[in-house]
Symmetry: C2
């Protein structure tokens, strides 16, 4: 019995998160209220408050859940480099998949929400930055350090090189999406071209010289 109860509660928890996420993205933090979330999730307002003490904590859970998507990318990074010795090929695959993950419309919308509310909730923004942003940089840095040890790259400061890699890769497409509200999303092949050019430039700077 207990197990069934937990499952039902978990399901409601997920329903609330999903409903809230859609409304936050559509109406912004200020424009969202708990009544509307309850109605969309098909639960009572009391149930919403049983799961989430207030709107801010509900928002935080949605935002921080997206860092799990980033975790997946990190795992991908580490695995790709551990299995391959062709740096150019591996970095190119990584660049394409990473860019494609970051450019998912729902993730871009959450990103915009975090930025919009950073003055109001700096602690949440910092958590997202540290759990998402910096975790990827650290994983990349560890891989670049190992590849340098193996003579396959030439990187003196791995964390700095990792930040240059993501800067070259993401600056243009992410900013265009941030500023223009995704009104003209890029095709997969456009994104691949951006990724390939970024990897090419990055390796001009950091590849092992023959």
């Amino acid at each position: 019995m207990k197990r069934t109860t937990e499952t039902r509660s978990d399901r409601k928890h997920q329903d609330i998160l999903q409903a809230a996420s859609a409304i936050f993205v559509a109406k912004g933090y200020e424009g969202t209220n708990m009544e509307e979330i309850a109605a969309k999730a098909g639960v009572s307002k009391q149930t919403v408050y049983k799961h989430f003490a207030d709107k801010e904590r509900l928002f935080a859970e949605i935002v921080l859940a997206t860092t799990d998507q980033v975790e997946d990318v990190v795992t991908l990074v580490l695995k790709a480099f551990a299995e391959s010795h062709d740096v150019t090929d591996t970095l190119q695959q990584l660049g394409r998949r990473f860019l494609s993950a970051v450019m998912q419309p729902e993730l871009l919308k959450v990103r915009r929400l975090v930025i919009a509310n950073a003055d109001r909730m700096p602690q949440l923004g910092r958590s997202w930055y540290e759990n998402g942003f910096e975790r990827v940089l650290k994983a990349l840095a560890a891989s670049f350090a190992r590849l340098t040890d193996q003579g396959l790259m030439r990187v003196d400061e791995p964390y700095l090189a990792a930040s240059h890699f993501v800067g070259i890769l993401l600056w243009i497409p992410v900013n265009e999406a941030m500023f223009t509200g995704n009104d003209r999303p890029k095709s997969a092949s456009e994104l691949d071209r951006i990724a390939d050019a970024a990897v090419h430039a990055f390796l001009m700077a950091y590849a092992a010289k023959p």
Copy 2:
């Protein structure tokens, strides 16, 4: 007489812009109303409407005015490269001044406002992107192309190289500020170190080889 009238009107126009800018930054687009702007500017609500048809147009004027700050950076770029043949030294000065300009707290706040409202006003975001962002890239690209012709750099695709330069330079500090609400602003010397490292990496990729 006519001249005095115009001047007084111009001054009111500026007072309204300044008051509105402060309130938009503090309260966001939704949280701002024309009454409050009028009160802060010390003019009547009618006067505000005489100068700006509605809140959206007032907001747009404030946002687009910041692209003038970017114009200054562009001028600086073109001048710096025209006067020097020491690419490393010039790029380093440029990197430091450009990063410092972009990291001005008021500009970061307007940037955050534009992103926050990009879904609501994609056309404004696109104007800011094209007038600010892309103008700098074009100016940089023109300089890189000329330096390549002179044998001082080795750039096949100038616009792409320009986008890599700003990505390496700005991705980390701008994003940290976007997400964390400027709660721990970086010192001038930290920013200089970031700029110098970015220029160093960029030139590893794009300097003319001896």
